[in-house]
């Protein structure tokens, strides 16, 4: 097949320039930094793959990586089913529908550092409503000193902040299902579960793909909320990858190792996102 006209590709040029300026050029710079020992603007030495060897054998980074995978796994396991359940329960008509949409959107509008501050105060045993109530009920809760409490608080905070996104995406997906499917299901006397399993869930596949990818990438890069809430503690219990990386790059000014680790971090996100995408779109291709 001979392609007659490719001029429309020029329309992609502005986006390409924007992406080059905001992503490709900075990433090239990070690659350049990752193979050098940089002291200042003019003093730098080529070190090959030494920084990669160092960061790949660094147990502190291994621990952060493990914590990060556990955190992202928990986030997806909680937020995706919960988001679907909320979307299924949301009203579809009338004033309540608009009101619920607004209420659901509120957590998404709050900046990350404010969310961290809200939960930091909310969880405090002396002045925070949740912390004080739990302690009054006889539950020894202290996110500043107990690892389990810190993890649960960080997870609940993320669920509170981001489940709305999954719910709103699923809600839009559910609203896009034509009524004829439901009519056919009523004729067949399909149960609510059968409607969900064979109509709603397959039709939600596209939005769920977006939701899973967004929540994975975002949770894997989480920084501000746990930093404000727990500061990475107690000990290093809630120190995730981006915090370790920031400490390395800005705290210790180890630009070379930090650049090397950034690229490893990027490759992990790229691989996992690609696996999610491939797994979720594979069935469509084989049909």
């Amino acid at each position: 097949m001979k392609v007659q006209n490719n001029k429309a590709w020029w329309l992609v040029l502005p986006v390409f320039l924007l992406v080059a300026f905001s992503a490709i050029v900075p990433m090239m710079t990070v690659v350049n930094y990752s193979v050098q020992d940089i002291f200042d603007h003019s003093t730098r030495y080529f070190v090959g793959v030494d920084w990669y060897k160092q960061v790949l054998q660094d147990t502190r980074l291994h621990d952060s990586l493990l914590r990060q995978f556990i955190f992202s796994g928990c986030v997806l396991l909680i937020e995706i089913p919960l988001g679907i359940a909320i979307a299924l329960c949301m009203p579809t008509k009338g004033r309540m529908a608009s009101l619920v949409l607004i209420v659901m959107a509120i957590p998404l509008l709050i900046p990350w550092n404010v969310v961290g501050t809200i939960w930091q105060i909310f969880g405090r045993a002396d002045i925070g409503l949740m912390g004080w109530t739990l302690n009054e009920l006889g539950i020894a809760y202290n996110y500043a000193s107990d690892t389990g409490d810190a993890w649960v608080t960080v997870l609940i905070m993320d669920v509170w902040h981001w489940t709305s996104l999954v719910a709103l995406l699923c809600y839009s997906g559910l609203r896009a299902i034509p009524d004829v499917y439901y009519q056919a299901a009523r004729i067949d006397r399909a149960s609510a579960w059968a409607v969900f399993r064979h109509i709603q869930l397959p039709k939600l596949k596209s939005v769920l793909l977006i939701a899973v990818m967004l929540r994975f990438m975002d949770s894997f890069m989480i920084y501000t909320e746990p930093f404000v809430l727990t500061g990475g503690g107690p000990g290093n219990a809630t120190t995730f990858l981006s915090q370790t990386l920031t400490q390395m790059a800005i705290g210790q000014f180890d630009l070379g190792p930090a650049a090397a680790f950034s690229l490893v971090y990027f490759l992990i996100i790229l691989l996992v996102s690609w696996l999610f995408y491939t797994a979720m779109t594979h069935n469509d291709k084989t049909r």
Binding site: N6, M28, T29, N32, Q36, I38, V49, Y52, L267, K285
Partner: protein, 90 residues
Amino acid sequence: MDWMAWTLPTALFFGAIATILAGMTVWELRSPCIERKGFLPISTTRGDRLFIGLLGSAYLHLLVVGTTDWSVWIASVLSLFWLFAVMRWG
């Protein structure tokens, strides 16, 4: 461009990537590919196979650098074989 802290090896690396992408574009225009299934568990286009080949090569380098004392050139040679195998039979 001094602020980007370029080195000769990284310039060659990015030059190779840009050449591959340009080559793939020309190849696609001259002979559009058809999705097919090889030894990979999914059916892939030529671009998919290049992506898988490059991503696999990156991980192969990390594996060699992170877990062995081998020279990085061994990882590079293995990656070339892997890239060729994926593009040809993937």
